[in-house]
């Protein structure tokens, strides 16, 4: 019996973010008008779809023990450059190739980041920060005005709707999260990535190609940021040079809310999804309540602070639960031996 109770306690602890979400949804449905409608719920997911991919990108790199601040500029750079390139080559390029080129550009950015950080042993914070500034500068220079008149195939992923008014973007986000859940839980790659973040030296001695893992994590992050760029482009119907600005810090917030830590080696994809949903929920109901935009930023900042506090409290509770369990086993053993002795 006690085993079941302990398991339950641990499950609640590990998924605290979802408990918070359920609580928030419950409160909001009662107090906020127009919140608990089908249309609004879908809307929340739709508007957090590109941030969702960024959170995933950031989370994967954080799990590997590094940090990627360049994703917010990659989000604008990859689709912008891809479209400019395609238009320069020929006016009639298929959207599939355009999307492929976008993703390849994201991949190359990730590859360069990863190579610089592993081979030249650069600090990931400084390296990706400067990459971010370089990419944003290039975007501002190359796209002085927005790129419009995109082919419908290119904007399909971000704008189209399927059955029940659910946007394709929402489906894409969920699919990608599902794929990464599988990768992180069930594949060798995922396991090695977590180990690398947890202790790179020990992972190397245990036979893991640590540098390769880190480079892969940056490539994944670049590709995901480029995909987020495609979704954003579709939603807006154009490519602007301000796309993704300030989303880098929000991606960090989402990942940390979802249980990922700066030290690496911790966090799950399911938790990250929770982080995304929580951020989306906050945005949505503060909007519905017509709270001032600057206050929203402040409230989000508080949320991040809260997440960090929760994280340390959580580990302490976890340890105390396990210790209680050990004590119980010990006392049981002693009682048994006393009975035998008599």
């Amino acid at each position: 019996m006690s085993g079941v109770k302990r398991e339950l306690q641990l499950i609640v602890l590990d998924n605290l973010i979802w408990v918070m979400i359920i609580f928030l949804v419950f409160i909001n449905s009662i107090f906020v008008q127009n919140f608990f409608t089908y249309h609004n719920i879908i809307n929340i997911f739709y508007h957090s779809s590109s941030l969702g991919l960024l959170v995933l990108a950031q989370g994967i790199v954080l799990i590997a023990g590094k940090l990627d601040l360049s994703i917010e500029s990659t989000l604008a750079f990859a689709p912008g450059i891809a479209i400019l390139l395609c238009r320069a080559l020929s006016p009639e390029i298929s959207p599939v190739i355009q999307i492929a080129i976008t993703l390849i550009i994201g991949m190359i950015i990730g590859l360069i980041n990863g190579m610089l950080i592993t081979k030249l042993k650069m600090n990931p914070l400084l390296e990706t920060l400067s990459a971010n500034i370089i990419l944003r500068g290039l975007v501002l220079f190359l796209i002085p005005f927005s790129i419009t008149k995109l082919s419908p195939g290119y904007t399909f992923a971000g704008s189209a709707k399927t059955f029940g008014n659910v946007q394709v973007a929402v489906l894409i986000m969920f699919c990608i999260f599902l794929i990464f859940m599988f990768i992180m839980h069930r594949t060798r790659f995922g396991r090695f990535l977590i180990a690398t973040g947890g202790n790179p030296r020990a992972s190397y001695i245990a036979g893991i190609n640590v540098n390769k893992m880190i480079i892969y994590s940056f490539i994944i992050s670049g590709v995901l940021a480029a995909s987020a760029g495609i979704l954003t482009t579709g939603r807006q119907g154009l490519i602007s040079n301000q796309m993704g600005a300030n989303l880098g810090i929000m991606s960090l917030a989402g990942a940390i809310l979802g249980g990922v830590t700066f030290e690496g080696g911790r966090g799950t994809v399911f938790g990250m999804l929770g982080g995304v949903v929580l951020l989306g929920l906050f945005d949505n109901f503060l909007n519905l309540l017509a709270v001032n935009v600057f206050l929203i930023a402040m409230i989000k900042g508080t949320l991040i602070l809260f997440a960090i506090i929760m994280d340390s409290v959580k580990t302490n509770i976890r340890i105390s639960i396990l210790e209680k369990e050990k004590l119980k086993i010990l006392t049981e053993k002693m009682q048994k031996s006393i009975r035998h002795g008599m």
Binding site: T187, R188, F189, R191, A206, I208, G265, K326
Partner: protein
């Protein structure tokens, strides 16, 4: 205060006291959970004397030193400081310093990014009235100290640019001239010294002795101890075997006292006996086993030179040597973790190879168990399950996808087999106790089904019961289908399970002992670089 003033205050007092004793420990004991580290230790340290303390790993030297410098508290006993006739039940680091005890440890305590002057005066800088630091004055004073000692070095260099032995000399100078206390403890500072540095160091000690300092000198190298000490205390198993004048001692005598004859733990003794009996039976099987590993001319400049050895399937080969003799470096070079510059590794008599990274070596069947469990071994934030299967995951998965059921089954087997005490396989490994963590690490290595196991101090820092179970595992399971090279903190453990032992001295293999020739005293002397039988090229 300038240096001269400080000297005047501290120098002459102790001379007048009876017997010239400056420091005494009286029936000191220390019990850690389960083990006794010190038992009824009484030693007297005299004024103007170099007092050596020698003993094996775990003999209680470092416990004693840590008590004297106030880092750990003794369980019972008294520490008597004669200067002011004070008696203490325990010391704290501040109290120890106040009473005139300063320590230089084997791991230098420095600020790497500060320069020498900044480090030299570290806890207390000279300040003007408005609390700015008098850099110039400090620089000149530092220059004076180094000129006085004859240690030529550029004072504006960063501390991290110095070699380990230069840092040790620097800290020793600091202890003598800047801290300028009566009693200076040198805890294995000489282990990385070259001949030239050693000469300088001994000259320094000699001078300081004449200045009236009392020096407590701890070392693994008996020749050094005999060269500079006036008086030597030999410790074994937490007890003082003897304290004797230098003139009454020689190297053989000290070695035999360090090694001793009786062994203390009965349970361990019984298990040892059963393990040894098995060994004889296995010896015949080994002769039939093929050669699984050969090393040819392995060299890494500055660490080890021209290492040649062969290992048969089923054989357990012991590698013994002092810290710095190259045992860890050799094992790391074989397993590709820190590759050697020259030399070849030959697996199962096939082609000559060189492993340049850990994963190639593991895929080919060479697996290494690190001696640094906390930093290089376990991944603390991951669960017991994930730690256990990390090196074996490649064979537990198909097309990159892990076979979860198979993995769980394997992990449960391993937990049962090694009796790992954990609430569930999902518990994070950092919540486990030290012995259990070592079992997890050992379990990871043992489960790999490698051809060659390189076990670097597999029994480090664990209790007797866990030690016996790991030794048993090496003998009865690992060596059945593979060759094993082991090193261990004590020679005793190696004698229990090894079929053959190679002795390393200063980066070279100096001699070989077969099982029938095992003799703890002889091996210990060989480790010290003594009585080396000139063996023909060892293969």
């Amino acid at each position: 205060m300038t240096l001269e003033k400080r000297e005047k205050i501290t120098q002459p007092e102790a001379l007048n006291k009876t017997d010239n004793i400056v420091l005494e420990v009286r029936s000191l004991s220390k019990v850690f959970s389960g083990t006794t580290a010190l038992e009824d230790v009484s030693i007297k340290f005299k004024h103007g004397e170099v007092h050596g303390i020698v003993g094996k790993n775990g003999a209680g030297k470092s416990t004693l030193v840590n008590i004297l410098s106030g880092i750990i508290l003794p369980s019972t006993g008294k520490i008597i400081i004669k200067k002011n006739d004070k008696e203490f039940n325990f010391l704290t680091p501040e109290r120890a310093k106040k009473e005139g005890i300063v320590i230089v440890t084997q791991k230098p305590e420095i600020v790497p990014d500060f320069n020498l002057v900044q480090n030299l005066f570290l806890p207390q800088y000279k300040e003007t009235k408005i609390k700015t630091i008098k850099w110039k004055e400090m620089y000149f004073e530092a220059k004076k100290v180094f000129e006085q000692a004859g240690f030529n070095i550029n004072l504006t260099r960063k501390m991290s640019d110095l070699t380990l032995s230069e840092q040790q000399i620097f800290l020793t100078l600091k202890a003598f001239y800047v801290d300028n206390q009566d009693i200076v403890i040198l805890d294995e500072v000489t282990s990385s010294f070259s001949k030239k540095e050693q000469d300088f160091f001994f000259k320094l000690i000699d001078e300081q002795k004449k200045r009236g300092k009392s020096i407590i000198f701890i070392s693994h190298r008996i020749d050094e101890v005999l060269m500079i000490c006036d008086c030597v205390t030999i410790m074994r198993d937490g007890k003082v075997v003897e304290t004797a004048e230098r003139s009454a001692l020689n190297q053989e005598k000290i070695c035999s006292m360090i090694v001793g004859t009786e062994n203390y733990d009965q349970a361990y003794e019984i298990n040892k006996f059963s393990l040894m009996k098995r060994c004889k039976k296995d010896a015949e099987n080994i002769m039939q086993g093929g050669e699984v590993l050969a090393i040819e001319g392995l060299t890494k400049e500055g660490y080890f030179w021209d290492i040649n050895l062969t290992l048969k399937r089923g054989e357990i080969l012991g590698l013994v040597g002092l810290v710095g003799s190259g045992r860890t470096e050799i094992l790391k070079a074989i397993s590709g973790i820190e590759p050697a510059e020259k030399g070849w590794v030959i697996l199962e008599g096939l082609e000559k190879r060189k492993f340049l990274n850990s994963w190639d070596a593991i895929q080919s069947g060479i697996v290494y168990l690190t001696e640094n469990r906390e930093e290089d071994g376990l991944i603390n934030v991951l669960s017991v399950l994930k730690n256990l299967t990390l090196s074996y995951l490649v064979r537990l998965s198909k097309d990159f996808v892990i076979k979860v059921k198979k993995e769980k089954k394997l992990v449960n087997e391993l937990i049962d087999r090694f009796k790992i005490d954990t609430v569930s396989p999902e518990e994070e490994v950092q919540n486990l106790s030290g012995g259990n963590r070592q079992k997890v690490l050992f379990g990871r290595v043992a489960s790999t089904k490698a051809k060659v196991f390189l076990l670097d101090e597999a029994t480090k820092g664990i209790d007797i019961a866990a030690k016996v179970s790991i030794l048993r595992e090496i003998r009865e399971r690992l060596s059945l289908s593979a060759g094993v090279i082991v090193t261990a903190p004590g020679i005793g453990d190696l004698l229990v399970i090894c079929d053959r032992t190679l002795v390393l001295f200063e980066g070279r293999i100096t001699c070989e002992f077969k099982r029938e020739e095992f003799n703890e005293l002889e091996i210990y002397q060989a480790v010290q670089g003594l009585n080396i039988k000139k063996t023909e090229k060892i293969r």
